[in-house]
Structures are given as structure tokens and as C-alpha cells.
Symmetry: C2
Subunit: 367 residues, 2 copies
């Protein structure tokens, strides 16, 4: 089973290949890319232990010169300091402008490797091999790269499109259940804002809360539809001028919840799930969306084992204050993505603090 | 006297305006650019003392909100650490994606401000207001940004085109003579590789070694022709895929000399002047260029008060070794830009170490 998608951009179009064991096929892909001989694989220790050997062997078998660099795992290491160590490694291995970084890992590895590739010698090639569901359906596609500033996530970064994205569904077997569900939040998002067919496939599944309940076909469909949705949107708006903003569905309130819970209690996918539930209810309240579809969304979120309620210890005023410092604020106005029907969404800056506040109250069970 | 040039790119085309007192006209330019209300001016203390007030007043008069950040002067501060302080300032001033950094200064300020703009919130606007001749005719145009790695100049960077370049010839009055001559090396370069008319205008001038000997018209012509040459080349090859490489004329050996003399004894323009003299003689030796034109070039370099000989303390083997680690090395081969006639040059990787070595010997007076 191989799905071949393409992200069509004015410059730098690229391919997304989704197939079991695609890692061991990397030699053929590398040869067709017309990149230089030197490759630097970037990963973390746990993932490299699991898949590093397969990947390195496949690269060497195709006669490329390969080295690797292990970054410490976790969001707190997503800093300029880690990037500086990556630069040192690139220098040590004499990487040239035609050389290629390969990111083997989740979103943190992908973002950091992408940023180092964007800024080393003013830009070298990068190939994304995401190993978490979240990275597969979201971060690995679209060219967003970055690291955190002490005062905010991803404030430092660049747009730098990968040369290739390789996705092997089988690597998800080693992914913790909670991280699988976090990725599913983004999958549900694509269903709501872009792909009604995907939404219905998810509704038709009996259980979605753990990977083992998904058939091989459903998993392949989930990956293919989600990547296609992201590729469609990115192709139409590479640098977030307009349409791409709809990908932030659920992320406005979601980011505030992540930030206010210290990026630990609630993970990204859980925060997005809550954010979608809130945004859905705002859309209903403002007449954009039907109550029925908003409830179908919430049922899907709950079936996936994700939360729909705002943690009780959060104060509404703090959430409103945090929304104002969101990266996507334009001329001081908070922008919300609101669904209009399943498979379609729009962006508005007309959501008032009063509406947000009223909806959050209904989404919060105070302890 | 106003020269209006444009850099035509697939995306992000922009204007270069060259005119006396253009700084005080910035309000009209800002209004036409459709950028957000927030501006951050980046400069160093000496330049900001001289021109900061004029610029800030003009920006405020046009009803933009402006703050400024002073970076320490000098190449040794062109580091990621300085960039981090710029990020902090951007955060403190709540810069948004539609906000604009303005670089007011020489190449170091321009490169750093450009890099910070390229990587803050994945890219905000930047306007270049170069105050050195070198920055006016070279660094401010073309979108190259960067900082130094402890082991090499500009190894960290990104391509990020400015929204606008404003050049006021009058600010050159406060430029030290040696820095003026350094800029003239790049002007001569454009004459040799691209613009025979510019070359002849330079030949026709009686003296070129200090700004005061240039007429207002000649200075305007030098700036206009040089910026046009850079704009032409960049328009045809935004990211250094091919043609743009000719801008490295004189820079291959030049960079090696700069590096081996610790970036202090010989400045960039002087190193480029020596590099052009060496490359010219290589071109003659390999049959690319005529002896007569190579000598005309050297006479122009000498008239400008720039050196043509390799410093006596440098060992040829060290130069050859340094050439191998040049950023533009491709598949291990050193690439040279060689003139074919005044106004035209080509790129080749066929220059052998033996030829380089033989030519450098003739360009070096051993002490």
C-alpha cells in the first residue's frame, strides 16, 4: 500500500510518500532528488535506537555518505542552544550547500532540524521522516520550522520546505497511546475544516482511542486524507497569507490552554481538542455552524479519548489575556477559525471577549 | 537627483531609492508598502547618534509606532547572541508578523537585522538603510542575511528579501576613507563582471581614493550602476543557483586572505581587490581574458588606493587549504569567477591548485 501525494508550490514542490517500510526504500528517493552526497541524520536517542540502523543502512547502500547527530528529547530542548550544536556537527562533517539534513523523529526533531537546515549556509536540503502521528499529519508538511524563545513557543523560526516527506505507518506501533490520541486531534481537525469524507470515516469507526483498534486500511486512509488536506491548503497558501490560517482551527484557545498549563498538564493535541470544542460552540452561538454538527464533532473527540472541557483551575480572564499575545494576532484583534459545515471553515476577527467568555463558562466544570 | 531601481523577483519584488535626504522621506515609502504600524529601528550607537533622530522623526510624522535597538558595533558582535537580544526587544515591543525591522547601518547591522527579521515569527518585514558604501552597493540588496559561527563568517543565515532599500549618498560624508575604498572594490567588481560603462566612468575619473574627489553626479552614477548590476543579477538568480555566483568575483581568494589575516589586517574590500587582481591574472593565464584588460583593472584598483598584492606573510599552502573550506565549494572543487572581457565574467571549477599557486607567487612580494 503506497500513497504518493505532492505538495505543489511555485518553487520547491515536493512529494509525500506514505507506505509500510518506506524507510528502507530511501535510497531510491535520494537518488531521484539530485542532492549532494553528504547526509546528516538528526534524531533523539530513543527513536534512533529503534529506527536509526534501518535508515542509515539504507542510505549507505545507496552510496551516500551519512553521519548522525542525537538531540536530547523533549520540548524544553527545542532551543537555539540545541541548534548551535547542530551547526557544530554540520561544520564538523563539512556539509555543503547541496547536502541534506534528515529529521527522524517527532515534531520537536522535525522543527529543529528544519530550522537548522533553513539557516545553515543560508539553507540546505531537509527530508522529514516523522515518527509520531502528530508530526506525520501536521508538522512534517508545510515548511514551518522553529525553536522556542524563553517567553513563547516557536517565536523563532523560518519557512523552509522539505525536499521529501517519508511516512511509515508501522513506526506508530511504538508510539504511546496518549501521543497517538494527540495526533488524532489534528486528524479530526482536517475532517471538520476540509474533508467531510475523512470525518465520516472517523465517525464510522467503532473505536479510535488506541491505534490497535484501527484497521490497516483506516490508518492508511487517515494518513493519506490528512496529509492531502495539509498539502492542499499549503499549496494554495505557502506562507500563511490567508487560507492557511484555517489550519489554526482549535489552536487559538488551544495555545492559551497549553501555555497556561505550562505545556505539561495538557498536551498539544488535547489542547487543540478542547480548542475545537470551544470554537465549535462559538461558531454555533454566532450562527456560523449548526448545533447538530458541533455535537457530532464533540462526540468524535470524545470517542478518540480526547477532552472537550477547559481545565477547571484556569481563570477565564487569564485565557482572554493570553489570547491577545497569540502570534496570529493582527492589529491587536484575535482571529478565530470557525466551522461553517463539516468540511469547511472560515476565519473571523469578530469574536468578542464576551462571546469567548460565555462559551468557555459552558465548557468548564469548576471544581 | 533621484534614482529609482527595482529588484524584480517571482515573489517579493522591491524598490531601491537613491537620493539625497531620502531618509526624511521614509514616511511616504512606508505608507505605500502596506506594512503594519509597528517599526523597530536597529542601529549601532555611532550611526544612530548621527542619523537616528532624522529617521525616527520621519517615521513618527507618518504616524507609525517606532522603537529602536542599539547593537554593539563591529564584526565580532555579529553573533547569535546579538540576535537573541534583538528577539528580546522584538518581544518587548510586541512586534507582529506585519511589523517591520529597519536596519540603519553598515553591512553588519544589515546582515544581523535581516537575519532577525527572517527568523522572528517565521519572517517579518525588513527595510535596509545602508550607511556604508559597501552596504549600499552590495549587502543591502539581494536578501542575504546572516551571522558568524565561531569557525566561519556568515555560516548561519537565510535568504530574506527586504521590502525596500533607501540610499542617501550624503551619509557617506562621515564614512572613514578606508571604508570608502573598501566599498569601491565592489564597485570596480561590477564594472569588470557586468557593466563596462561603469568601468569606463571610473577610468575617466582623475582620483577615486577619497570621496571628496568624486563629483555628486559620479557618486550618484556609481551608486545607481552598482545597485542596478546587483539588482539585475539577483533578479535573474534569487538564491544563488547559477548566475549569482559571478558576484563572488575576487571573493574566493579574497575570503581566504581575510580569514588568514584574522579579519583585521586586511578588510573585506581590500581582500576583494587583491582577489580580483589574482583572479584576473588566473583568467589571463588560462586564456579567458586579455593581459591588457587585466592591467586596466589593476590600474583602477591602484588608483582607488586599494592593494593588488597578497600580504607577504601568507603561505601559499595555507591559502590553498583555506580555499577548500570555502562555502561555495561544490563536490570538493573550488569555483572561480573569471572575467572574459570588461563587463562579462564566467564561473569555472577548472582552476587547478598549480595555477593558483603560480599566480599568487607573482602577486606576492616576499619580505
Amino acid at each position: 500500500m503506497l500513497s504518493n501525494l505532492s505538495v505543489n508550490l511555485e518553487q520547491n514542490s515536493y512529494q509525500i510518500a506514505i507506505a509500510p517500510n518506506v524507510l528502507s526504500e530511501i535510497g531510491n528517493y535520494l537518488k531521484s532528488l539530485n542532492v549532494g552526497n553528504k547526509i546528516l541524520v538528526v534524531s533523539n536517542a530513543m527513536i534512533f535506537d529503534e529506527y536509526g540502523e534501518t535508515l542509515i543502512n539504507a542510505i549507505q547502500a545507496a552510496n551516500f555518505s551519512v553521519s548522525h547527530h542525537i538531540l536530547p528529547a523533549g520540548e524544553r530542548h527545542k532551543t537555539l542552544l540545541s541548534i548551535q550544536k547542530l551547526y557544530d556537527q554540520a561544520l564538523e562533517n563539512h556539509l555543503e550547500r547541496s547536502s541534506t539534513f534528515i529529521a527522524l523523529g517527532g515534531g520537536v526533531i522535525g522543527d529543529m532540524t528544519g530550522f537548522a537546515a533553513a539557516t545553515w549556509l543560508r539553507g540546505v536540503n531537509v527530508i522529514q521522516i516523522p515518527t509520531s502521528l502528530l508530526a506525520m499529519v501536521d508538522a512534517s508538511i508545510g515548511g514551518k520550522t522553529g525553536v522556542n524563545h524563553p517567553q513563547g513557543k516557536n517565536l523563532i523560526g523560518a519557512f523552509h520546505q522539505p525536499k521529501l516527506v517519508l511516512i511509515d505507518p508501522q513506526v506508530l506501533k511504538t508510539l504511546p497511546h496518549r501521543e497517538f490520541r494527540a495526533g488524532m486531534a489534528e486528524v479530526i481537525k482536517y475532517g471538520v475544516i476540509w474533508d467531510a469524507d475523512l470525518f465520516q470515516q472517523l465517525e464510522a469507526a467503532e473505536r479510535l482511542d488506541e491505534l490497535e483498534y484501527l484497521s490497516v486500511e483506516l490508518l492508511q486512509n487517515i494518513l493519506t486524507h490528512s496529509c492531502q488536506a495539509k498539502a492542499d491548503v499549503v499549496s494554495k497558501d505557502e506562507k500563511e497569507g490567508g487560507l492557511r490560517a484555517i489550519l489554526n482551527y482549535g489552536h487559538t484557545v488551544g495555545h492559551a490552554i497549553e501555555s497556561l498549563t505550562g505545556y505539561s498538564l495538557v498536551n498539544h493535541g488535547e489542547a487543540v481538542a478542547i480548542g475545537m470544542s470551544v470554537a465549535g460552540k462559538i461558531a454555533v452561538k454566532m450562527g456560523y455552524w449548526s448545533e447538530v454538527e458541533s455535537q457530532r464533532q464533540d462526540q468524535l473527540i470524545i470517542k478518540t479519548g480526547l477532552p472537550t472541557t477547559v481545565p477547571p483551575m484556569l481563570e477565564i480572564d487569564d485565557i482572554l489575556e493570553t489570547l491577545k499575545s497569540d502570534k496570529k494576532v493582527k492589529a491587536g484583534k484575535v482571529r478565530f477559525v470557525l466551522p461553517q459545515q463539516i468540511g469547511s471553515a472560515t476565519v473571523t476577527d469578530q469574536v468578542t471577549p464576551d462571546i469567548i467568555s460565555a462559551v468557555i463558562k459552558t465548557c468548564q466544570e469548576k471544581s
